[in-house]
Amino acid sequence: MSSSYAFRKFKNNLFFVLCLLCVVIAVVPLLSILYEVIARGASQVNFKFLTANVLQGGIGPAIQGSLILIGLTSAIGIPIGILSGVYLAEFGNNKYASTLRNVNNVLTEFPSIVVGITAFTLIVVGVIGTYSPVAGALALSFILIPIVARTTEESLNLVPNSTREASLALGAHKWRTTLSVVLPSARGGLVTGTLLAVARIAGETAPLLFTILGNSYFFQGLNQPMDALPIRIFLDARQPSPELQAQAWGAALILILMVLALNIGVRLISRKRFR
């Protein structure tokens, strides 16, 4: 540090420029991804593309399948995740809860492909015996539950204790306080966290490879393979035919619109929280 003042100032400015450069470099891939997806995908999208099955050149089954998966997964994962979070936040001052918190941390960083193997073994080989939307939804809820549990705990922790005490002082029970006072006060955070978690699983692909497999036709039942947007992109992108590759870009545009709309929408609604 024994350099002259001018040199130290120069180093300081250089450092500023380098940091700015890092930000620019990181934004380039994002902009390129958005540009390519729009440029190559937009020309594909029309009414037939969105509604026809794969053999007729559309991605209708994939859109339908993704919506079914999101619905099933949310139905399984959100209630379990929120109740887990409630336990961790409201009764979580013990060893049992802190163990569960650590398990949750491990689960949120779980390699998603592993979850696919588990759902395959349990459902596809075990319970149902065929590829099935249920297996896909189960795999995705393994990913969803820990994320929802964590965001629920975080939002409940933001509710001031005086709110709980006010309710308890009026003679309400703990369970009543939690359900009617604490959860509603944390509503904003809960909605935000849950929607972001849903956005995350909407784009998950790896666990679906072994569970719903992909299908050219619309939903055929809970004991049949099903399509979904990420699977359709993966299957199409690997084909040599330019038409199918173009279809992959079109599907990517729909998927990214779904995911980004959820993300940006949520952030706009809850702008204050993120400041």
Binding site: F15, A26, L88, V106, I113, T121, G203
Partner: protein
């Protein structure tokens, strides 16, 4: 009175049971992977970790995951080498330098990087990034430095290097946002003390802020490593999917394979029980690596936040 107490207890116990679902999920995954891989582990023993062959032909079966473990480590290593300096630069810029009006939109943009699904990174990597790395980096480097073993081969764009690059982009949001929180948690008195003895901003950050948050930033890096190790789809689409001894990552510009991409490519088409078991075994190895990494990362990150005395969270 007893009835009222029961109501609360019932709620508490029900919530506790539901909360145990996390432990159940972990146990279920571990159980399935361990029972599923016993077949191959009994046959190969320690050779499963050290072997290089992947031969599912009946009667000559031989399975070893060494090339894929190394492939996972090399691609993640490249991701850290490139991604970590970028992420730290971003975190420092956002906390210490940017005016407030720029900070919020910029953090949105960086967080959007995390929102893009990995399959779309893969699609972009396969049709766009691949040609960038092939034309602007791999071909020139291979032409002049091709005599160095790690740059040898015929650059094709679908190889270990491109996989590393795409991973480095994907870990940026994780590493940048955790380091940003760590830097934010460094008390202002530290900065003020440093400024008051005449340090420049660079010196304050380099000698005070970064060393104060050292273990937290280290934790952020390891979290990024965890993400890179488990990433599947984007890597599967750009790594070239070599198999067996060819997948040993001796050159950056040759096709390789990671544990995750191996499973994504082969698991569904595997036919014999022992082959299926070998893929499950690869999953078990991947899971073990990822759990070790994440536990280490969380220990490091929480240590910093505890030191802060609750400054964050």
């Amino acid at each position: 009175m007893t009835k009222k107490i029961t109501g609360d207890n019932v709620f508490k116990i029900a919530a506790a049971i539901i909360a145990a679902s996390a432990a159940a999920i972990l146990a279920l995954n571990a159980y399935v992977l361990i029972t599923g891989s016993t077949l191959v582990l009994q046959k190969e023993g320690i050779g499963f970790l050290l072997g290089r062959n992947w031969n599912p032909v009946e009667g000559r079966e031989s399975f070893g995951v060494l090339p894929y473990v190394l492939g996972t480590l090399v691609t993640s290593g490249i991701a850290l080498l490139i991604g970590v300096p970028l992420s730290l630069g971003i975190a420092i810029f956002l906390v210490e330098m940017s005016p407030r009006s720029v900070r919020v939109p910029l953090s949105y943009l960086v967080e959007l990087l995390a929102a893009v699904p990995s399959i779309i990174y893969g699609l972009w990597g396969l049709f766009v990034l691949r040609f960038w790395t092939q034309n602007y980096i791999e071909t020139p480097v291979n032409k002049y430095l091709g005599w160095i073993p790690i740059f040898s081969g015929t650059p094709f764009g679908l190889d270990i290097f491109t996989a590393g690059i795409i991973l480095s982009i994907m870990i940026i949001p994780t590493v940048a946002s955790v380091s940003r929180e760590v830097i934010n948690a460094v008390p202002n008195s530290i900065r003020e003390g440093a400024y008051s003895i005449g340090a420049t901003k660079w010196e304050v950050i380099r000698y005070w802020v970064l060393s104060y948050g050292r273990s937290g930033i280290f934790g952020a890096i390891i979290l990024g490593l965890g993400r890179a190790v488990g990433e599947t789809m984007a890597v599967t689409m750009v790594i070239g999917n070599a198999i067996g001894p060819n997948a040993m990552p001796f050159s950056l510009f040759r096709p390789g394979q990671t544990l995750a991409s191996l499973i994504a490519n082969g698991f569904i088409e595997s036919t014999t029980p022992i082959e299926k078991s070998a893929y499950v075994g690869a999953g078990l190895v991947l899971l073990a690596i990822s759990i070790v990494i994440n536990v280490a990362a969380h220990l490091l990150v929480t240590r910093v936040f505890k030191v802060k005395g609750g400054a964050v969270e």
